[in-house]
Assembly symmetry: C2
Homo-oligomer: 460 residues x 2
């Protein structure tokens, strides 16, 4: 009689979940792999939503990377519209709520990859016309709402990456956009040196920017049950719809009572194979607190590449744990938070810690700020560019970098990301032989100049 | 009586020479610094010549970074049109030929930064209408030649970086351009995987490409003393003018009998302070063989950034050698050959060794070739991109990378250049957290994918 197949249940069918499921199946083909996904789709590019709303991507289907049918061809069964509602890691059961009601699924191996959901902490945030973006179809619904004439005036609560990208997108779609940011700076993930003037720039493009404006709640407008007003510490803003983008929280509530180690934020703690404190239970993606490369501390980092990578590593480790396949399993090196965005023709990017974060972490910080040209000064189309670099005065090691410039400037951040992974000092980084051509920058790359400036301030 | 000032003579007033002179003067203000330069200008951007010829830069003056007057304001005296013709390092004298005839200049400290000159090995290469590019004014003369109707049909001998950039430039200026390349591939500095199809691409843009076509010499056309025909192993090509771009040699002939250690090519050997085998004699820039970071061997590398950097380090070391200023002097980490070019909307770049070079150096080579998209696949304007990576099978260390794609793809090479400086393995590089946004590339950066492919082939 053949040995019963080992079953792998993956909860969550986006980046981390599908990466885990497919990797595990590829490495251990005799695994019986099932993915359950709360939403209607798997593997979608939520980073592409602003492009959809802006109209540069026409068809929402284009943002779907993989269908359940394609997954099945690769040996992975998918059940959509099926959410996990409880977990018992001792009996190895997940209680799920699906189209046919409640059910209990047994597993031999489990991976939690439920991602994160937008926070909606505002009063009356459940009114019609108040949106949050997570799934593709959130974007489609919001778009339809606007196109049906109900989003002529739109408030976006939160001036971070998502809020700003969506502000540009809705402006392109023809809405009047009010961007409400509770602090004094847009993109508060950046040090203000880098985003200096960004609010005026965005305002010139047509976004009504409200700084130091903390939204507190919504009330109905003319139509019952629909949002009409956003209240704040400043003026009330009359709108037809609102998008709340003030951060995310991990979707780990269903497992809250299961005894999993987690941060108080709900992010699950894992080892470098993405294994939780239960032997047969892994977690990956936005619901996880991974080790931060610079601080060494577990940190939630809801980004596409780390999520995909954590998923693969979990899948690899799960496959290895079946003890039927040879070879060592990969480990996860950690996160640093490398992010880039395009905004009205600007490119902005960061990696590692910014100055404020580094100070908060207790580093004795050295910084440099370099303002330069994006090309040789005589080239047509030359633009301004700014780079900020942060290092540890004691060890000389780079802690992070931020930059802003023309669109393609964002591509430059990867050089700093490599340096962080290598644990390089500013002094060593300043010796890198970067490329030069008049079309691409000055002879002395701004990152090199920034590193040289820091090298003068550090002890090593 | 005050102590006599120490004199520094710098031979050559471009990137390395002026960097050396200005750095030395800045660190040791009581140095008496003189630069002699054979040409009429100092500090010009020869990399900007194609832009001038193409008409995107209108005024040749824009390519001049620094004038002798500005240099003097910073304490550095400059004598242009003054060439070194002999050197006696024992009596510390340089014989120079200037506007007022021959002269002998004494020095306490000397830096040789004479750069390199284009080779012109072809028969009757001295005919009128045969050009080579070194100085700004070579570009201006050639441009004027073309504009006066004498360059309607133009041959470019050599399909490397310079030849290709100039082919595009002259095409934009209205010439019929014949590009003659002696081997089967354009840009032979790249492995053919990366440049596959480049000849057809360039031909589609309008350049008449002649591959496997080795130019042997010129003969007169209808006008006496002027070029009319380029001979080759294939057909004769009838032209009005020709540009020879088949490589450069260091301008060290004047010092050939001085007893300086040098490669057989004439490149001067230096230590990591850019000091030659004479105590008071430094050398920097294209005339120098610097240590190659990967091979460890001295190598001529005529590139702008290393030249500027070597000049600064020489200046720093010279200042320190006066023993009147405190602090350690910088050292030169070495060259790797990071190069980028823009060609008809393509971006091409490389760093370190390509596969052919790595094999020639005796490495047990692992390679990967990744063909991918330049943005998320659903984004408008998405283009193809190719990355090749080379590593050492024994140590797992990266040896080099090459890439081709849309213009901004070239900026990606810096990530690999950082990795080479850090001595990173492919496995470690594959763990880097690169940035992702749909506008900038796929989630898995092509360089990461290339490194992962290599990680499967290496021993460490």
């Amino acid at each position: 009689m053949p040995r019963a197949m080992t079953s792998l249940l993956v909860v969550g069918g986006n980046a981390a979940g599908m990466s885990c499921a497919l990797k595990a199946k590829r490495r251990a083909p005799d695994l019986d792999v099932t993915v359950i996904e709360a939403g209607p789709n798997i593997s979608y590019s939520s980073c592409g939503l602003p492009q959809l709303v802006a109209g540069t991507v026409k068809d929402p289907e284009d943002l779907l990377v993989l269908s359940p049918e394609k997954a099945l061809e690769r040996g992975v069964a998918v059940r959509t519209k099926t959410a996990a509602v409880a977990l018992n890691p001792y009996t190895k059961e997940v209680t799920v709520q699906g189209p046919k009601g409640r059910d209990a699924l047994h597993y031999d191996k489990l991976c939690i990859a439920t991602g994160a959901s937008p926070l909606n902490p505002l009063k009356h945030g459940d009114l019609k016309g108040v949106f949050a973006l997570r799934h593709i179809w959130d974007g489609v619904r919001l778009m339809e709402h606007v196109d049906s004439g109900k989003g002529k005036r739109l408030a976006i609560i939160g001036g971070g990456y998502v809020g700003l990208e969506m502000a540009e997108a809705f402006l392109k779609r023809g809405s009047e956009v009010h961007l409400m940011q509770k602090g004094p700076h847009l993109l508060p993930q950046f040090d203000p040196d880098i985003t200096d003037g960004l609010d005026e720039f965005v305002a010139q493009k047509g976004v009504r920017v409200h700084l130091d404006c903390e939204a507190t709640g919504f009330s109905e407008g003319r139509r019952e049950g629909h949002v009409g007003v956003v209240h704040s510490n400043l003026d009330d803003i009359h709108v037809d719809s609102a998008l709340v983008s003030v951060g995310v929280r991990p979707n780990t509530g269903f497992a809250a009572k299961a005894g999993l180690h987690a941060l108080s934020t709900g992010h699950l703690l894992v080892d470098d194979n993405m294994r939780t404190n239960f032997h047969d239970l892994w977690a990956a993606g936005d619901c996880v607190a991974a080790r931060h490369l610079i601080t060494g501390r577990p940190t939630g980092m809801p980004l596409a590449l780390p999520s995909n990578r954590m998923g693969r590593i979990a899948g690899d480790s799960i496959a290895a744990s079946t003890e039927r396949i040879p070879g060592p399993s990969q480990t996860f090196a950690g996160v640093v938070g490398t992010v880039a965005m395009r905004l009205f023709g600007l490119g902005l990017a960061q990696t590692g810690l910014n100055e404020a974060q580094a100070r908060k972490e207790g580093f004795d910080v050295a910084t440099s700020l370099v303002e330069t040209k994006s090309k040789a000064s005589y080239m047509p189309g030359v633009r301004d560019m700014a780079v900020k670099m942060v290092a540890d005065r004691d060890t000389g090691k780079l802690l992070g970098a931020e930059l802003a410039g023309p669109e393609d400037a964002a591509l430059r951040i990867n050089a700093a990301a490599v340096a962080l992974q290598a644990g390089m000092t500013a002094r060593k980084f300043a010796e890198v032989e970067t490329m030069y051509a008049p079309a691409f920058g000055p002879v002395w790359d701004p990152l090199l100049v920034a590193a040289s400036e820091i090298a003068k301030q550090v002890r090593k």
